[in-house]
Symmetry: C2
Subunit: 158 residues, 2 copies
């Protein structure tokens, strides 16, 4: 039985994923090739960025390897490049679904205590001083990251 705050945090994550997914399904591939605002990232870039960030959550949370390591270099710390198009919207949609589906299964399977253990990017020494840098905190931060970019992608809707 998860404590109530853990449940609230995990439910909010899943609601944010579902909301983003519903928006992404409504946007056409053509919509995704538009920029969210003049001279800003395109929908395809934000889809790739969110997918790569979520994929990296798997090893960060000790939930196994990334499913799509091939997309990282195009979408993390690399600006949107309209001149090259290494992945199609259709391929990225599939990666997005794969990654969130694996995350959902793994998140549901994690025991309550595990959420308060350290994630994989912090040392034991650091974690002793900063025990809030646990797995549940990764979920809180990534939920807000997702909301931030969902607000931008919502601007693509006609």
């Amino acid at each position: 039985m998860k404590d109530i705050t853990t449940k609230m945090v995990l439910d909010t994550w899943q609601t944010a994923v579902n909301r983003a997914d519903s928006l992404i399904q409504k946007l056409t591939d053509a919509d995704m090739l538009n920029a969210v605002a003049t001279n800003r990232n395109r929908g395809i870039y934000l889809l790739g960025h969110l997918t790569a960030v979520h994929d990296m959550m798997l090893p960060l949370l000790g939930m196994g390897d990334r499913l799509h390591p091939e997309i990282k270099s195009s979408f993390i710390r690399t600006p949107d490049d309209t001149s090259s198009q290494p992945f199609t919207v259709s391929v990225l949609r599939k990666c997005w679904t794969d990654v969130n589906s694996k995350l959902e299964t793994q998140i549901n399977a994690l025991s309550s205590d595990e959420w308060f253990k350290k994630h994989s990017s912090i040392s034991e020494e650091e974690f002793e001083k900063e025990p809030h840098r646990n797995k549940l905190n990764v979920i809180i931060n990534r939920t807000n990251h997702l909301s931030y970019h969902t607000g931008q992608m919502a601007l693509l809707k006609k």
Copy 2:
């Protein structure tokens, strides 16, 4: 002493407020009169909207009356209206600062147990069935709401 998850949730809220505030301070009054994307809400509208939503958190969390009830009708469930301008950017900046400052003080003063009590928009009967609809959950939801619109306002930066 707050439990670690409550602290994580409240810290994430304050970080999101500080990040939005820093962005709002960087945007000029002229930037704020631009739409975040073609035919979408202007910065001034999102500033008013966030301020009104945060102001409504005060009574919702049992932290007293709203500070600026006069702004609600223009920014909640009312679309951005470029033909009328009931409030200047400068007035809204002041309201934004007032409201977040009062919220910060009240949030810091709330005892740990209080976060798990019901907020004011739910009945005792409903709360008995859905105990996650507590004050801390309001903070989780409003943090994501703020992140969503911060992502949009970030598009106003030159």
